[in-house]
């Protein structure tokens, strides 16, 4: 039977798998950048090879992804320990939000070489915005819980 504990376990497994994927990705960035340069066909403001800029952006996004996944691990660990409405979780959501926003900015910069990169940039910024709103809701919930805990 599917329950809360199993759902949390699945989230932790997926987060661990994605962490491993992000770490592995760091080793293959030059190859992916080379492949992207070969298959990529589109317009941009700046001409020339896509190899160096895409490699730099991919390293930046990989680092931001690792940052976000570390925050996600902390968040999941706290949820497992039943520490849900704590300020540390709000900080984690803020971190994830900033990581997404910065990744969006990085993709926007890549858009100078290929206009198509604006699409993932838009998606990342949008996701960052959603996370930011969630962070605001969480912040308010932490305050309400604190008031409730200190109501005698």
């Amino acid at each position: 039977m599917w329950n809360k504990t199993r759902s949390l376990m699945l989230s932790r497994i997926l987060a661990a798998a994605f962490s491993a994927f992000l770490v592995m990705l760091a080793f293959f960035v030059p190859f992916i950048a080379e492949w992207l340069t070969e298959v990529s066909d589109g317009m941009g403001l700046i001409g020339g090879s896509l190899y160096i800029p895409s490699m730099i952006i991919m390293y930046i996004c990989d680092a931001l992804g690792i940052w976000a996944i570390v925050e996600l691990h902390i968040l999941l660990h706290n949820i497992t320990k039943e520490k849900i409405f704590v300020p540390q979780n709000t900080a984690c959501l803020r971190g994830i939000s900033w990581a997404c926003m910065l990744a969006g900015c990085a993709f926007a910069v890549l858009g100078l070489w290929r206009f198509l990169s604006i699409m993932p940039a838009f998606a990342a910024v949008m996701f960052g915005l959603v996370m930011r709103v969630l962070k605001n809701v969480f912040e308010e919930a932490v305050e309400i819980k604190s008031e409730n805990d200190f109501t005698i």
Partner: protein, 70 residues
């Protein structure tokens, strides 16, 4: 800083009642009574206030005081 001051200590001393005894009479834990006494509480239920007043034979104004802050 909360402008409401809790003078529970003063009233308890006047009535010569210990924290544990008051907590037991009111029906709250000693830890919660400590939160109330140290001014860390953010709100007090009317039911709790009623029991405290009954236990100490006093008015809410004897326990709670409002201080103007700048």
């Amino acid at each position: 800083m909360m402008p409401i001051i809790v003078n529970l200590d003063v009233m308890m001393a006047k009535r010569k009642i210990s924290s544990n005894e008051l907590a037991e009479r009111v029906g709250i834990t000693a830890a919660n009574l400590s939160v109330l006494k140290t001014g860390k509480a953010k709100a007090v239920r009317f039911s709790t206030l009623d029991k405290i007043c009954e236990a100490l034979d006093c008015q809410p104004g004897d326990i709670l005081e409002w201080e103007k802050t700048e």
